[in-house]
Each structure stands twice: as C-alpha cells, then as structure tokens.
Symmetry: C2
Subunit: 199 residues, 2 copies
Amino acid sequence: MPAQGDEIETLIATMARLPGLGPRSARRVVLHLIRKRAGQMTQLAALMANVAENARECLVCGNITQSDICPICEDPSRASGEICVVTDVADLWALERGRAFRGRYHVLGGSLSALDEIGPDDLRIPQLIDRIADENITEVILALSATVEGQTTAHYIAEALAPTAVAVTGLAQGVPIGGELDYLDDGTITAALRARRRL
Amino acid sequence: MPAQGDEIETLIATMARLPGLGPRSARRVVLHLIRKRAGQMTQLAALMANVAENARECLVCGNITQSDICPICEDPSRASGEICVVTDVADLWALERGRAFRGRYHVLGGSLSALDEIGPDDLRIPQLIDRIADENITEVILALSATVEGQTTAHYIAEALAPTAVAVTGLAQGVPIGGELDYLDDGTITAALRARRRL
C-alpha cells in the first residue's frame, strides 16, 4: 500500500498520464492542491466535472465549446464572409489570442495523410464546402501548418474550391517577429526572400 | 467572451495557476481531457473531489493521507523504534519510493527560520519529542535538506534530544549515485573526501 493511501496515489497516477506532466510534477500538483484545499481542489474538481459533461464540438465550425453553437459562430458581428480553416481547435484558440481575425473559423480535425489513411471525408472538408454555399463566403483563409501534411491538405482544399467564386488564401511565410536571421532555417529564409515586399 | 466559452476558459485559467503548469500546458491538458472525455475527465474530477474531501494530515506523523492515521503509522511491522524526521510530505514520499527505510516518519512541516519567524512550536517538534517518549524510539534519523535552514533545524533537534537516550543520526553526505566529480560543487567534493571510507 502506498504511503499516502490508495486514492491519493490513484489521483497522482492519473494526473501523471496527462500530456506535459509526469510522476514528479503530478505529485507536486496534488500536494499543492491538498495543501490549499480550502477550495481550490474542490473548485477544480467541480469545473472538470462540468466541462466533462458539457464540452462538445460546435455543430457549425468544430470548435470545442459548451453549447451546440460556439460563441464565435453565434456572434453576428463576425459574419464577415471570411472563413479561416485550421487543423485543430488549439490552432483556433491560438488565432483568437492574436485577435487579428474577426471572421469565423472551420476546424478540420486533422490533416490529409495517405500513410495514416486519412482522406477528405475523415476531416470536416465536406462540411466546409457546404458552409461556403450556405454562408455567403467570399474568402477562405487556409491557416494550416507549413508541414507536408498541412500543405497537402491546403492544396486539396484549394483544388476543391477552384470551381467556386470564393478566394482561397494562405498565411504568409517569412521571418517570425523577433526572429534572428542567424537562427532561422534555410527554408524560411528562402521563403522570406522570395516573398520580399517593398517598404 | 472567449472563443471556447467561459467555463472551459475558467478551467484552463485555474489549471494554469498550478505549480509547473502555465497557460500553454493548461490548454494542452484541457484539450486532451475534452478529447478523451469518454471517462478520463469525469474520472479525474471524481478523484479530485474525493481527495479534496478526505485528504488530511496523519495525527501521528503528519503524512498526508485519507484516514486519521496513515498506512505507515498503522503498519505494525514498521514499529522498528526508528523515526525518520523529514521537512515535508514530499520528502517522506521520496524516501518511501527508495524503499530503504522500514521504520516510521515524522513530518516537521517546514524548517526553522529566524527570517520568516518560524520557531520550534510552529513546526511539529514538540510532537516529535512526545513520540520519542511514547513509542519506545531508539534512533531518530534527521533526513533534512543540506541547506542552512535544514541544518539549523537538524542542530536544534539534536540539541533538544541530547538529554534523552535516543541516538540522533543524519543522512550521509557525498557523491550522488551516477554523479560525475567534474560536475560536482566544491562543498560536496570536500564533504565526500572528509567522510571517505575504506573499500
């Protein structure tokens, strides 16, 4: 029997399996929560139970939210005619933190991959095509990763949308803000040089 | 309103305040849990609620456990007459993982510190002295940190126990297992050299 009793041990073992945590950080978190238990652990448990019960995918865009339609899809001020296509919910949240985009999103839920047998119907690509017809969309921004899978997916969507009147754009590639040329890989430097612009 | 709804945002913000986590890892953990929600988040919430309700300090040694007396203090096979004194519950758990010690523990709950105005009565030192009389203790092992506060505390306890017949010992200091001399600090090398032993 573990020194701290079975239930605390189970909690530590469960937390240790979360991404980015391990046994050491799980123990640290659990001890911290037990010490501050005037509220914090109970509150966290209640929050988790609530989110576990209510979190679901937005029926329109695939964002994770607590209602059938997410706050972004429900916001009338964001019906700008622009859809930003992302691979994953984490990417959507990252773009929202940047506050630069005021249109709506579409989460694919992955990238096309012949190796993993992920085809267009495994992603939310058919739903994207339906939305373009339904929502009076004029521009689709493909905010996909600059990896082989991301670019294959981008290419497929651009092809699929070619017959429509919608403009398909992609994120600019170049030097990241604060990036030092010295530390950049050759591909990024080449892309930034090719896409140079007049100041 | 955040993209993912207020409750998910609150959960992320609460988790981001845990030690070792930040906003980025909290988002990653929450997304992971939502995706695997066929059980894992609900289970974690239930475990937390249970531990939050039941976790308490062992009335004898100060270990954190779910009963009034912890499994170690209840185990009759561990009544060896040895008490290992540690600063913190985390230290007790670390020693238990080593499986080298088969006696019982005593958690001080901190170190003596003139700066922070922590005196003997703020720690569980009086309880330690009571236990030595009550439990037929022959040896007290001071497993305290090799810091100024830890060594001050060790010195204070050794002085307090001097009138009793109990043997007071401390952890050996020296080269850690797997340690390379090259990377060790001078203090450790000096201590290891002074405490050298015949092979």
